[in-house]
Structures are given as structure tokens and as C-alpha cells.
């Protein structure tokens, strides 16, 4: 095969040659059952639904839909495991099982990354370097806690809650499963977990890993399905704790459903984070952080920095740099290692995003988008920013969950604090300034659970994550992430 060699041109833009990650090393079944009591079972509903690659709309696998009987089976398996082997086991041995899961994820990391990208549409660079390593690290970190709980909570005699029902979103499928399962197991609970219906595959691969790690049957049960399955878990009488990550709307429905019961809960919900650039900030670094803050994972991030506040004196230069940087982003095949912007997770979500783009323009804001060829198949939205935005605009108030940035300006620190906090959400915030004392001033004023200073979208198993106000309650990660799974 003779490939034509093009002469180097120094006048225009250089293109990258395709560098796709291979998919020939992964193994995916045609059909996945429900992981109940250590085995993959056919659903008693006999229903299966397809999982589709959002980047090309190709069929990947069939996923079982769990009905009421299946949910009952999963919960009773979890209860039996909790009353049986899991609570009788020493904390130390329990920890060794969790270490095994961490190691197996590391061993299979590339396979998991590729499947995550196929199933969810996120760039392989992100699934490979963020999702999968953080998932493994989460299990590793919490494995170490099992026999040390008395040091985290001195004089409290911590006890597991029981059976945890966990419902997770489609934006970080494996990582969210790890965030949920690792602390639950470390504290001695058993689990019934439901992944989102568009992204079940890595959770099911995790089920295979849990089988391979030889965990006692029923300690982890992973059942698939859509909203009805999630509701079935939430409403189940024999579940002691609900852990939910998803939209604020659904979170409120769940809170209502469990109100008056003895179920404990943690809610990690939506956000509309302020990312604030002061005039003394290192601007190139800040622009890079803003790009990462909103376009990471196509903006499907609850803590995405979707509201940018720029101090007026540097607005023009920041806007120019942002636009230049957006033009250099590469949108396309998520499996390509050069890709910055992958596919939107589902047709439905693309519809939601497009609705907001329309509203934004109708309300009078100016839209700017990356100009690039859009693949014919699949669901795509180019990175977008809006200027001429005011606090009352819908695109500045509501969570879009897509690659859409709303930019406003400010003059004084008081003004920006007021504007940034003027939202029902409170998950995260970003501050860009060269002045340390200003950072600590801002962090103390922000009504948000995570504040990133001169960085953004950083996650670590040791670091608590979760929101103020309508962004949810409870924390995941760190020592604080143990509390929701313990009774004292």
C-alpha cells in the first residue's frame, strides 16, 4: 500500500493522522443478563434492550431489563450475603477482596477504557487516563479503610447500614460504580447497583471482575434497566440506604419516595458551577482550565464549569484566547487518541442540548461554536460558548449537561461572589488568580462543595466530593465518604 507523502506546509493548520485505539482485544457478549447472587441470570421480565455506540449508532450488545421479581431477587441476595458471609468476615479479609477488585481493574484497564468509550462516546484519552484509573484507585483506597474504621470515627463503634441500593448516571459509568461500591463494601454493606440504561456495559464487566475476584455471592448485585428499575430499587422495603447520582429533578423524586422511611440517603445531583477568572490570573492556564472545565466529557459532568465569570479588564483577551483554543479542539471518533470532543451520550441528550442552544439564541445571547466537520452518524454537538449572557438567561440558570459555556463579566469581587452564588445549585466552583489570599477568600465565600483553585475537574479517592444546596447531600470520597454507609 503506497501512501502518498504530502509535503510539509508551514503556512496553514497541521492535521493529525488518525490514531484509533484498537478494539480487537476486548470481549463483549451479545447479551448480558442480570448479575444476581454471583451469577448472570436471565431477567424474569424476559425483556432486553439494545446498547448503542453513540458515535456511530452501531449496536453493541443486548442488556437485560430488571423487573420487580428481579429486583426482589437481587435485594434478597444482598440481604442474605449481608446477614451471612459478609458480616461474619473479618474486616481485614473483606479488605483483601476489595484490593483484588482494584488490581483486576488495573489488569484489565485498557479493555475497560475501550468499552467505556464505545458505550458512552467519551474520548479514549479520558476513559483511559481518568475514568478507569480513578475507578481502580477508588477501590484501592477504600480497601485500606476496612480495618481502620475505628481511627476514622474514634469512640463511635461504626456499623454497616445493611443493603445499599445505588443508582448511577451515564456520564462516568465505571467510575460512578466504583464511587458507589467501594465505600459501601469497605464499611461492610452489600449492594444492589443499577447503571444507567445507555451505559451498562462497564458495570457488567465490573460484575465479571467481581466474579473473578471470588467475592461471596450476593455481596454485589448489578441489575440493569431504565427509570422503572431504579424506582423499584428506591422503593424496595428491604433496602437500608439509597445512593443516587443524577439530576436534581430525579433526586427530588427519590427523596420524596423515601421520605418517612428509615432509609438513609446520599444524593449527588446537578450543578451550574461558576468558573471565575480574575485579572491577575495566569490567563493561558486559566483558559486551558475553562476549556477542561466545560468541554471535558462533552460537558456531561455534574460539576462542569458551565458559567464563566471574567473580570472586565481581561474579558477581551480571555474571549479571544478561548475562541482560538476552541478552534483547535478535535471533534470526532472517540476511539481516536487525538480526539478532544467525543459523541454526545444519547440522542435524547443531544435533543436537550439543542433545545438549550435554541433558547440561548432566542434570549439574545451570541453563540460561537467550533467550526468542524460533523460525522454523519452518531450524536454530536460542537463545543459552544455564549456571550452577552445575563444572570436571568435560561442558559445561565439551568443545567444543560452538554458542551455549552455561558460567559458573563464582573468588576468587583463582591459582585462575582453574589453572581456565582446566585443559583440553587452548589456543587463546585473554580477560581483563577495568582493571589493566594484571594483564593482562600473566595473558597470561604463560595456556597459549593468543591472549589478548585487554578485547576478544575480534579478527582481523587481521598478527596470528598458532593454538593451544597440543591446539588445534593452527603459526600463521596475520602474519609467523609465512609460516613453515609455507617450507623453509629
Amino acid at each position: 500500500m503506497n501512501k502518498e507523502i504530502k509535503p510539509l506546509k508551514f503556512s496553514g493548520k497541521w492535521d493529525f493522522d488518525p490514531a484509533p485505539e484498537s478494539v480487537d482485544h476486548i470481549s463483549l457478549k451479545d447479551q448480558y443478563g442480570l448479575f444476581i447472587n454471583g451469577k448472570f441470570e436471565n431477567p424474569q421480565t424476559s425483556n432486553y434492550f439494545p446498547s448503542v455506540n453513540p458515535a456511530n449508532e452501531e449496536h453493541l450488545s443486548m442488556i437485560a431489563e430488571a423487573g420487580e421479581k428481579d429486583i426482589n431477587a437481587a435485594v434478597s441476595a444482598a440481604r442474605k450475603a449481608f446477614d451471612g458471609p459478609w458480616s461474619k468476615m473479618s474486616a481485614k479479609e473483606r479488605g483483601k477482596y476489595i484490593f483484588r477488585i482494584a488490581r483486576l481493574i488495573q489488569e484489565k484497564s485498557r479493555e475497560l477504557a475501550v468499552i467505556e468509550t464505545l458505550d458512552g462516546g467519551k474520548p479514549i484519552r479520558e476513559s483511559r487516563d481518568v475514568d478507569v484509573p480513578i475507578a481502580a484507585a477508588h477501590f484501592f483506597y477504600y480497601a485500606g479503610w476496612t480495618d481502620k474504621l475505628n481511627y476514622a470515627f474514634p469512640n463511635r463503634d461504626p456499623k454497616p447500614v445493611g443493603v445499599a441500593g445505588q443508582v448511577i448516571p451515564w456520564n462516568f459509568p465505571l467510575m460512578m460504580a466504583a464511587w458507589k461500591i467501594a465505600p459501601a463494601l469497605a464499611t461492610g454493606n452489600t449492594v444492589v447497583l443499577k447503571p444507567a440504561e445507555t451505559t451498562s456495559l462497564t458495570a457488567l464487566k465490573l460484575a465479571e471482575i467481581i466474579q473473578e475476584a471470588d467475592l461471596p455471592n450476593g455481596v454485589v448485585n448489578i441489575i440493569t434497566g431504565a427509570g422503572a428499575t431504579g424506582a423499584g430499587i428506591v422503593n424496595h422495603q428491604d433496602i437500608d440506604k439509597i445512593a443516587f447520582t443524577g439530576s436534581t429533578g430525579v433526586g427530588k423524586i427519590i427523596m420524596k419516595a423515601i421520605a418517612g422511611s428509615n432509609k438513609k440517603s446520599t444524593m449527588e445531583l446537578g450543578g451550574k458551577a461558576a468558573n471565575i477568572i480574575f485579572e491577575d490570573a495566569p490567563l493561558d492556564q486559566a483558559v486551558e482550565g475553562v476549556i477542561n472545565g466545560i468541554y471535558f466529557n462533552q460537558g456531561h459532568v455534574c460539576c462542569a464549569g458551565s458559567r464563566l465569570f471574567v473580570q472586565e479588564s481581561v474579558y477581551d483577551v480571555v474571549l479571544r484566547k478561548l475562541k482560538d483554543r476552541i478552534q483547535s479542539l478535535i471533534l470526532g471518533n472517540p476511539l481516536d487518541k487525538n480526539t478532544d470532543i467525543g459523541a454526545i451520550n444519547s440522542k435524547e441528550q443531544l435533543g436537550t442540548i439543542n433545545k438549550y442552544l435554541k433558547i440561548g439564541q432566542q434570549e439574545g445571547a451570541d453563540m460561537f461554536q467550533l467550526e468542524c466537520p460533523i460525522p454523519k452518524k452518531g450524536f454530536w454537538c460542537p463545543p459552544t460558548l455564549f456571550t452577552n449572557v445575563s444572570q436571568s438567561h435560561v442558559i445561565a440558570k439551568e443545567e444543560i449537561f452538554g458542551p455549552v459555556l455561558a460567559i458573563q463579566t464582573f468588576r468587583t469581587i463582591d459582585e462575582v461572589i453574589t453572581k456565582a452564588n446566585n443559583t440553587p445549585f452548589g456543587l463546585s466552583a473554580g477560581v483563577w488568580t495568582d493571589k493566594g489570599s484571594k483564593i482562600f477568600n473566595l473558597t470561604s465565600q463560595m456556597r459549593a462543595g468543591v472549589v478548585w483553585a487554578n485547576t478544575y475537574n480534579k478527582f481523587d479517592p481521598t478527596s470528598p466530593f458532593g454538593g451544597y444546596k440543591e446539588s445534593g447531600h452527603g459526600r463521596e470520597g475520602g474519609l467523609h465518604g465512609l460516613t453515609p454507609y455507617l450507623n453509629f
Partner: protein
């Protein structure tokens, strides 16, 4: 057919990731029921100095690695020990330990490495603090490793005592110079082989065999050693403490409980080999008054 002749192992010392013989060329014979089982290096003062140089050289890298990374490396060490279980057991038996007890000791040793591995990224969450000072400052205290720690290893527990006293030193990022048990030195050298294949950087752990009484005083005197863990041989407590004063080495004394006891597993023995560092940072006080900043 002639019986195959076994290949016998030369037990050497472990300095800077390498396995040299003692520079002194001396040895002592290890016997079990008056049968010679090994010729063990009788390390010298010069070996000790070389070991301290190696430990100091490794400190920056080891203490600068992330806690997560150190945790993984210690866990790797446990994985490697699991693979050498039979070797550890037969060495303990060779040195006169009952086989059943040896098996229990080795299992417990591996689990203990995992226990301490888990502390690497938790120690600062439990012992670090944010201090609510009354001025407008963000003030926090973090625990940091001390540097080079001399470990006078337990005399009567060749493997369990060794890992139980060594891991708390390592996990926070210290480097160690170990004076191995005189009577039960074999597992310490096999542990060195584990360390050498567990991604523990060379020099982080250095293991010397020989007569403790001869080398201990030089360890206590050495001006580039930051702390000494005298787990055993407490009859030398006074002289070690006196010599340590020269550079105000911290001296941590063993408490004579059995190494199999559960209470050996605690984080306080880790913090014994750490310093507390407090940082002050101003917090801007502009806000709430409509300041024109």
C-alpha cells in the same frame, strides 16, 4: 542415578538496591542444633555508613512519591511475599521455628504489610489538621516523614517482627537502615529480595546482618540518621539515647508486646516517625462592604 546436589544460597547484605557482601569480608556461622545452616555477613561500621548514604540518597524520591503510589508499592510487596511463602516458612523452620507457627507467622506478616500499605494515603486524613487560628489565615498541619530511620529489628521474630516494625517506617516515606536479627537473619535477606522486586526504589530499605552490639552504637552516633527504632535489645537503651542526643535523633523504643498481637496494628507507630509541619497562608478580607477591589 546420583542424587542431585542442591545449590546453596549465599546470604548477602542489601544496600542501595544491590546485594554486596560485607566490605569487611567477615562472617558468622548460623547453626541449628549444632549443624551449620548459613554463613552470614558480619557487617561493619563502613557497611553501615554506606547504607546511610544509600538511604539518604533514596529519601527524596521515596518521600516525594505520592501516598497512593507508596500504598501500591507496599501492596506489591505483599503480593511478592505471598509468592515466596514457602521459602519464608522453610527458612523459619531451618532456623528452628516450629512449622505450624512458621506458617502462621508468614500469613500474619503478609496481612500486616497490607494493613500498613492502606495507611499511606490516610495518615494525613486522620492526623493532619486545619487549625482555626484567630487571625485571617488559612492554617494547616501536615505530617511528613522524618528522613533516614535506623531500625534495630526484633531479635526473636525474624519475619513478623521485621515487617511489623519496618512497614510503619516506610509507609510515610522514610528510608530505613535495618540491623537484622542476629539469631534469625535469613528471612531479612529474603525480604530484601522481595523489596528488590516490588518497585521499592533501591536505597529505601537497606539491611545489614551481623552483631547488633557492634554496629548499633555507630547507628546511634551517625549524624545523618534522623531516628532510631530500638524494637528490642533494650539493655542498650541508655547508650543509644545518649549517643542519639548528638543530632537529636528521635529514639522510639519497642514496648515488648508480642509481634503477633493485634495492637501492633496501629497508626501511632507510623506517626512516631513523622514530623508535623504547619503552614500559614493569608486570607484576603475584602468582601461584604462593597469594596472597590
Amino acid at each position: 542415578m546420583a542424587e542431585r546436589i542442591n545449590v546453596l544460597k549465599t546470604y548477602k547484605i542489601f544496600i542501595g538496591g544491590k546485594f554486596p557482601r560485607t566490605e569487611s569480608g567477615r562472617f558468622y556461622q548460623l547453626n541449628n542444633r549444632s549443624k551449620a545452616i548459613a554463613n552470614v555477613c558480619l557487617s561493619s561500621r563502613k557497611d553501615l555508613r554506606n547504607a546511610v548514604v544509600a538511604a539518604r540518597g533514596a529519601f527524596e524520591k521515596w518521600s516525594g512519591s505520592t501516598a497512593h503510589n507508596r500504598s501500591q508499592i507496599l501492596y506489591r510487596m505483599a503480593e511478592m511475599m505471598e509468592g515466596r511463602k514457602d521459602q519464608f516458612i522453610s527458612e523459619l523452620v531451618l532456623q528452628g521455628v516450629d512449622r505450624k507457627e512458621a506458617k502462621v507467622e508468614v500469613d500474619l506478616s503478609i496481612d500486616r504489610v497490607i494493613y500498613f500499605a492502606g495507611w499511606a494515603d490516610k495518615i494525613n486524613q486522620v492526623f493532619g489538621s486545619v487549625n482555626p487560628v484567630a487571625t485571617s489565615h488559612f492554617n494547616f498541619s501536615l505530617m511528613e516523614p522524618m528522613g533516614v530511620v535506623g531500625l534495630v529489628a526484633p531479635e526473636k521474630s525474624g519475619l513478623l517482627g521485621l515487617v511489623s516494625s519496618l512497614c510503619p517506617i516506610l509507609v510515610s516515606g522514610n528510608c530505613a537502615v535495618v540491623l537484622a536479627s542476629e539469631k534469625l537473619p535469613l528471612c531479612s535477606i529474603t525480604l530484601a529480595e522481595v523489596l528488590a522486586t516490588s518497585d521499592v526504589p533501591g536505597g529505601v530499605v537497606n539491611i545489614l546482618t551481623g552483631k547488633k552490639e557492634e554496629i548499633m552504637v555507630h547507628l546511634a552516633k551517625h549524624m545523618d540518621v534522623n531516628a532510631i527504632y530500638l524494637t528490642d535489645n533494650l539493655e542498650h537503651k541508655k547508650s543509644v539515647q545518649e549517643e542519639a542526643i548528638q543530632n537529636l535523633k528521635r529514639v522510639v523504643l519497642g514496648n515488648q508486646i508480642s509481634w503477633g498481637d493485634r495492637t501492633v496494628e496501629n497508626p501511632y507507630i507510623i506517626t512516631d516517625f513523622m514530623e508535623t509541619k504547619t503552614t500559614w497562608h493569608p486570607v484576603e478580607v475584602i468582601s461584604g462592604t462593597g469594596s472597590g477591589y
